[in-house]
């Protein structure tokens, strides 16, 4: 997985590519831990993300909880397969998917 990070003022955009799974999700967790302070608008671009497993969902859930306290979080470019996973797990109700 690759993570592309852009920060402008209080907006952070993370563009993920590849697979967000057990092996790679610690990278995203680290990235969020390091950069999320002071961010009020977290945008995640999933247009090049192929795959997400429960390990990835956990990180998204934790990020959503943090952002509920300090701002907003949104996800764009979700493919069909990942969308289905969000729906099955009820994440489509928790996350803001654009």
């Amino acid at each position: 997985m690759t993570i592309n990070k852009e920060i402008q003022d209080k907006t952070m955009t993370l563009k993920l590519a590849g697979r967000l799974d057990t092996t790679t999700s610690p990278e995203l967790e680290e990235e969020l831990k390091a950069s999320l302070d002071g961010i009020e608008d977290l945008r995640m671009d999933f247009s090049e993300l192929e795959y997400i497993s429960s390990a990835g969902l956990r990180i998204l859930l934790a990020a959503q909880k943090t952002m509920n306290k300090q701002g907003t979080m949104s996800i764009t470019g979700v493919n069909d397969t990942i969308m289905e996973i969000f729906e099955i797990t009820g994440f489509s109700d928790i996350l803001t998917i654009k």
Partner: protein, 529 residues
């Protein structure tokens, strides 16, 4: 001398025919046969025709009448002229008729090879005879001939003996002399052809293992292996012997052919093709049995005394080791060291078992070197038994240590198998997610102490309309189907972390089954393709 003599016991009747049987003496012979048979109707009849010179249709009618009372008739030592009569009249179809064996002298003949069960002589310009060491080799020769014929029919190139002959007190089988060089000779003389040899050798091995044998046509290697294991129980600690027995017993039946003694002396290059010889060990069974005997031939037998391989194969132990390593990787189609080692371990367990038994039966315990060798093999065997849980392997299966660091390896394997099954992209992603969830669970929870294996098997089911994925581990019993589904309607704040993975598996797969069987967790996922 009487034309017919007879002997009878509870088991069978033997008749000895001699001279001529024609209309002149047929009535007399018929009466004598009846007298011998009297009361022994339905017993098998063995007719020794060694001295029989002529038989007219009157004689044939006696055989027909005999067949009405005693259906099982076996005629042996039939001279060619009598055999022709029986063959033309269709009698060879009705009863088992064996020809008399031609006698061949090997006096002054050049010896061109020596094997464990016989010596090969060149009897003339175009022919060789393999003379068996022991006198009662006839059955063995016939067996080898039959299985070689079977193999040829099933598409395995081999040499078939065209005649069985008497050689002194023993028997031999006659082959056409081929201008051939064995792979052992090629490896010894032309080391630069190593890779070519590996390829041809592995191609033939795959051809053998890809051949399905009709049920009952060849012996089952597993049954033989169970006998070796049974022998070992007096020489191994009880728990180790039991584990060995259980593991051999758990190897599933396999109706594919194995050669049984597949080393480089038994593969020959003739003018235009590679042929397999020494077919007497042909059997059916799982390839692990084949790899075991190959390991023995290249490494096992010479593990204590490295010179042995030179004696036996004609090349040094370094060549042998290189060849084996290349062959194993080419055969298994992987360079992954752990996968190769795990399968090699399985082969070695059967290999050592076989060698230890063989050596003990050949009084290996009575010499110092023999004991040292048996000790070495036993030590290796016990170590291997300690770290191995199954002797089975399959190209459809990957076995790894249950550790999340092996996830990529597992997913890579799953993806390549799904490609073979032409799995659609979306289904493939769902399957990969499911496999990740299950494998991660096993890695995290199955083995509380130390590390154990996880096996993941992928195969097509229902004529390729479904894929079935089987996870097996020897960890603590754990049925994931008993885990309660998470409440997916809760808000982010109220959501607990955990349980999501299994929930996704249940939702995206078409079938999830769990069973605890033979000390193992077995979880099966099915998904419609």
């Amino acid at each position: 001398m009487n034309v017919v003599r007879g002997e009878r016991n509870d088991q069978r009747i033997e008749l000895f025919l001699s001279g001529r049987i024609d209309s002149a003496n047929a009535a007399e012979v018929d009466a004598e046969v009846k007298r011998i048979i009297d009361g022994g109707e339905e017993l098998p009849v063995l007719i020794d025709a060694a001295e029989l010179e002529y038989m007219s249709s009157a004689g044939l009618r006696i055989l027909l009448r005999l067949r009405k009372t005693n259906e099982d008739i076996h005629i042996i030592n039939t001279r060619p002229e009598i055999y022709d009569i029986l063959d033309m009249t269709g009698f060879t179809e009705m009863m088992n008729v064996e020809r008399a064996y031609r006698t061949v002298s090997i006096e002054g003949c050049e010896i061109i090879g020596r094997g464990s069960n016989g010596t090969i002589y060149r009897i003339d310009h175009d022919n060789i005879v393999k003379v068996y060491n022991h006198a009662d080799a006839l059955e063995e020769i016939q067996h080898e001939r039959e299985v070689a014929r079977l193999a040829l029919i099933l598409g395995i190139p081999t040499a078939i003996s065209y005649d069985i002959v008497r050689v002194g007190d023993s028997y031999g089988s006659v082959f056409e002399l081929l201008d051939a060089k064995s792979f052992s000779e090629i490896l010894a003389d032309e080391p630069e052809r190593m890779d070519w040899c590996v390829k041809e050798y592995v191609d033939m091995l795959k051809k053998i293992h890809g051949t399905v044998v009709p049920e009952g046509d060849l012996p089952d290697m597993k049954e033989r292996a169970l006998k070796w294991v049974d022998f070992m129980k007096d020489y191994l600690p009880e728990a180790a012997a039991q584990k060995l027995l259980d593991m051999v017993d758990e190897i599933p039946h396999d109706d594919h052919m194995i050669h049984g003694d597949y080393h480089t002396k038994n593969l020959e290059l003739t003018d235009d093709e590679v042929i397999l010889i020494d077919m007497d060990t042909l059997a059916v069974g799982h390839p692990v049995f084949e790899l075991a005997s190959m390991y023995n031939a290249f490494l096992g037998y010479s593990e204590y005394d490295h010179e042995k391989v030179k004696e036996y194969q004609g090349f040094d132990c370094e060549t042998s080791l290189t060849f084996w390593n290349k062959v194993l990787r080419a055969y298994l189609e992987t360079d992954d060291e752990e996968t190769v080692r795990l399968i090699e371990d399985k082969a070695r367990i059967i290999g050592y078992t076989r060698m230890i038994r063989r050596s003990i039966r050949r009084k290996g315990l009575e010499t110092e070197d023999g004991r040292a060798e048996i000790d070495l093999w036993t030590k290796e065997l016990l170590e291997l038994l300690d770290r191995t849980d199954s002797l089975f392997f399959s190209k459809d299966e990957i076995v790894v240590k249950a550790n999340v660091k092996n996830l990529d390896k597992v997913i890579g394997f799953i993806e390549s198998k799904l490609d073979e099954l032409e799995c659609p992209v979306k289904t493939r992603i769902q399957i990969c997610v499911a496999v990740e969830e299950i494998f991660t669970n096993i890695a995290k929870y199955a083995y509380l102490e130390g590390e154990g294996d996880a096996a993941i098997r992928v195969e097509g089911a229902d004529e390729g309309s479904k894929v079935r994925i089987t996870f097996t581990d020897s960890g603590r019993p754990y049925d994931p189907l008993t885990v309660k589904d998470p409440d997916v309607t809760l808000s982010a704040e109220d959501r607990a972390i955990g349980g999501l993975g299994l929930f996704m598996v249940k939702k995206t797969m078409d079938g999830v089954e769990y069973e605890y069987k033979g000390g193992k967790n077995v979880l099966i996922l099915t998904k419609v393709l």
